[in-house]
Structures are given as structure tokens and as C-alpha cells.
Amino acid sequence: MTVEATAVQAKAVAGAEAKMKGAIGRPLKWYKQLLYQVLCLFVAFTVLFPIAWVVSQSISTSKRITGFLPEGAITFEAYQKVLDKPTTNPVSFLDLTFNSFKLAAGASFASVLLGVSAAYAFSRFKFPGRGFVFLAILAVLMLPSVATIAPLFAFMNRIQVGEFNLRNSLWGVGLAITSGLLPFATWNLKGFLDTIPKDLEEAGMIDGANRNQIFFQIILPLSTPALAVTALFGFIGGWTEFYFSWQFLTNPKDFTLAMALSQMSGQYARSTPWDQFCAFALLVALPVSVVYLALQRYIVSGLTAGGVKG
């Protein structure tokens, strides 16, 4: 079931791509064209409206909300302010970004690296305990990672070396994020590796390659797209991770972008000017949105394949 469904999806996405580049086809009657264009424009309007509004607020001079359009002259003052000091904490935008980046890159890299080797074993070997361990991974996947916050907090809080407390550090948060990402990465990559024909490896074996050579020289290059998509999911997840950082970290110099965003939006945040909040939200969203948009094709097929199996 999974394999067929994945194939249907893959074919479907490929079909959509082909179609998008395809011929114009026979022309529509003018009144139909008009009606459909009106509908499409309306949908486009609903999609763009909130985005346009945030952009408009972020460059508005006025400190109060007055309507749809920015009031007064366009200004980038809000951007300057949030880049310098987004919250009342003594951290700059760059500090926050760097912390978020460390979490995102670290957790994503660790989960893919460990995940792909485990996925390979699950996909290609039979060994005692295989079924049990894989079932355990599936069971873990069932629980959203926020539901593991109590034991992770309690467990890491007990790991104290001198001044260093694992829980109250980016390492602890990174481990907590990896704890959620790794089962997903393993399962997702196993799904992909299962679709790589075994003939290739058999050919490799006949030519005298050993298991490691097959893994590094045949399997890994073939799974680059899946690795990239899994890593990107992990990165996006880590980049805006909120609940672990919010629960674990107390030192402002460890704070992340998502935490700052929450501080600017929560119920005690009435003091944050809207233009600054909007500017900050756009700055946080921009990098991942651009990457996502650029790799959209691969991500969507990766997502749907994963969805089918879920």
C-alpha cells in the first residue's frame, strides 16, 4: 500500500510539473475565462491580504493601527530597532538568529546522519530485534514531541556538571529536538530506501563491493534528495522550535527567535509596537520561506509521501 501510494503521489507530482510547463490547450469561452479569473483573483486576494498587511504595518510610521495601508511616509525604522534589540532582553537579532541556527542545523544534521544509517539497516538487513525496534520507533512517532516535555525536562535537569546544567543549555534543547526528529528521520528515510531497487546493490556485490562501499557509493548518492528534504524539515522545525526552548532556557543569551517572537506577542506584550512585531515576524519568516519556496517541488512530494505512510 505504502509503495503504491507513494508512487501514485510521485507520478501525480511529476504530472503536475509536466502540465504546468505544458501547452495552453484549447481556449476558454470569454465569459468562462472572466468568471474563473475573478474566482482566482479572489482566492489570491485572501492569501495575500494578511501578508500584505504585515508588510504594510512593518513599514508604517504610525504607531497605531489605522486601516489597511501604512500611514505617513514609508520607513524602515522598525527593522532597525528589532535588528538592534528586539525584546527587553539584552540580546540582538543576530544573537537570537545564531542560537536558532545552532539548534536547527545541529538537530537536523544529527538526526539525518544517525537516521540514514539506521534506516539502511532496517531497510536491508534482517536481524534479531528488527521488528521490535522499528515498532518502538513507530510508537514514538505517534506522540507529538511536546508531550515528552515533562520527562525530558526532569531527566536533563538532573545532569549537572559544575555550573553547567544540561537542561538550561542549547545542548539540552538540541537533544530534545533531536529526540523528536530522529525517529521521524529514520522512518522517513527507511520509506525512501525501500523504494531503491535491490538490483543495484546485488550488482555491486557481484562486482565485489562490501556492505560499506555499497552504502557509501550506491545508497547515499541515490538518496541525496530524500536526505536533503529530511534535513530541511528538521531545519525548519528547529528554526522555529518553541516549547522546548521556552521551557528549558532561562539565560537570555541562549534565547531563540521563536522565544522572542512569543515574548513580543504574548499577553504581556502590549508594549511591543506593532510595526516592530511585524518587522520581526517578517525577518524570521523570510529565510526559511525563501528556501522552502525554492525547494517546494521536492518538499511537497516528500511531505505527501510521508503523509501517506502516516
Binding site: 501510494a5 505517534m142 506522540l143 535491490k198 503523509g307
Partner: protein, 343 residues
Amino acid sequence: MAIKNVSAVPKAGRASFWIRSRDTRTAYMYILPAVVVMAVITLFPLGFQVYMSFTDYGLKNLKYDAPAANWVGLDNYLHILNGDTIKNVIPSFDFVGTLTFNLWWALSNVVFHVVLGVLIAVLLNVEGLWFKRLYRAIYILPVVIPAIIIATVWKKIFDTDTGVFNILLGFLLGPLGLATNVNGVSIIKIPWLENSQGDFMFLPIAYYALLFTNIWLGWPLNSVVATGALQSIPKDLYEAATVDGASGSQQFFNITVPMLRVAMIPFAVFGFITTFNLFHLSYFMSEGRPFGRTELLVTQAFKLVNTNQLYGIGAAFAIYMFFILLTISLITTRITKATASVD
């Protein structure tokens, strides 16, 4: 289908492949790093979670040299069901109410996502429509924006006094005399996300604000999947139907819908579980208001630990969640399997 055929190696070949690969040592070598890491940071904490759920684990037990928590048996589980002791800390705590709302939340969202996603995909798939690529590029935008940004921004959009949603309502309904005028801007001050809000059709209006936001956020991906499925329907089917004299709507319901079902149902199931566990909207937008009625299981689980520091109860709550999600998965797997073929 295609991939399965490719990987279908002849029987003899496969058997010998397994025999040769019965090199368990190599297998363990590959799996060891991941399993060790997972055992330490995923499985051990989960086991610890089970232990915690039977204790009164709290602030007093957190420090590294703190005493072990007291064993309380099934107390946490019972208290979650009947609200004892938890209500002293969270007056609005209502497990069954939250679960019911959570199920309805996921179901209602997915219906809108799938229906809108399919309709818009069909619209964009019309032959000869202009600017298709431009529309597709615009429509994907909600998917690429991080959820936390969407949630915090839409909270501002639904702000009572200054949110653009109320301003938009004022603009549309102002001529009917329903709006108030503030600084020359007409606005209808609906307290979407406040405790002072009212109900509409048995549900607090915050639900509709969340629903509206999640529809905005959720239909585009469904549309992408539906587009893919639409493109994979063979053109001959429609040609044959046209030859047989089937009308446009007959073709839609007898060819398009059944063919789409194969791709859409598994994705709807995926969407149901994602929406069921959607943390950000409830947490950041309504913050559970009014009085915890828009709380979801995930946000409640987080608040038990984060806000109320009830670690033992939080752990038991997570165990409940596990069994609820397990049940949902078992049911949805059945639905997916039962509807896997076109006929």
C-alpha cells in the same frame, strides 16, 4: 505502482540476497549509533514518563540531588478524568471537554481543507485558464511560512480594538450602520480572542477565528496534492465519457471524484492527525480562551508542565494522549486501507 514493479526482484534472487545479507554484525553496526542515541534521548525519557505518571513528581524533585518523588499509583490518571486537585490550579480544566473539542477541531478543519483544496485545484486545472503559474506561486505562500509566525500574526489580525479583521468587517458592514468609528476608521469590535467573547452555534467565536486561520493555512497543500492527482487521471477517461454523452458534472462526480479519492483520503488522514496536534494556533492565538474552551490536548499538556509545573500529572496526561492517538491511528489506517482502491 511503477516503483513496486521495478523493485520486484525474482524470488530466487531475493532469497539469496537475504542469505548473504544475514550479516547481523554489519546490521548492528549500522543501527547501533541511532539506537543508542534514541535509547538515551527518546526511549528512556518515555519510560521515565511512565514512571513519572505514577508519582507526584513536581518542583521539589527537579534538582539533581533532590529526593525521589512519591508513588501515588493511579491518582494522576483519576484526577485527570475527574478534575480533582487539578481544578484548584486550573479552574477550567476539563479533560473530556478538551478531547471532544479537539476531535471536532481536527474533523471540521480537514473537511474545509480537502473540499477547498480540491475545488481550487479543479479551478486551476481548467484548460486554457490564464496565469495558472502565477496563481500557483501565490497560493503556495501559506505553506512556506513557519507556523509560529502565522499564529502570532493572526493573533494581531483578530485583535479586538485594532485588528484588521474587525476593520475589514467595519469596511464591509459599515454602510449597514453596524460599525463604530474610531479615528475615522470604521470598525466592528468583536472580541474574537478574549474571555469576554460569546458563543455561536454552541462553540466560542474563538473557534471560528482559529478555524478561519487554519483554513487559510491548510487548503493550499491539499490543493497541491489534489492537483497532482488530477494530472494523473488519464485524459482518455474524459474523452470516452464525452463520446458517451456524459455532461461536465457527470464527469466530475463519476471520474474526477473517485480518482481523487485515492490520493486525497490518505492525505486527509495525515491532515487530521496534524490538525489534531496543531500546537501553535491554539497556544498563540486564543491561548485557550475563553476559559480554556479552545484548549487542545497538546497545549494543555504543555501548560500542565510549563505553566503549572504539575510534572506527574503532565506525564499521565501525555500517556492518555498516546492511547488516544494510537486509537485514532488504528481507525484511520483502517479507513485508508478500505478506500485504497478506486472501485
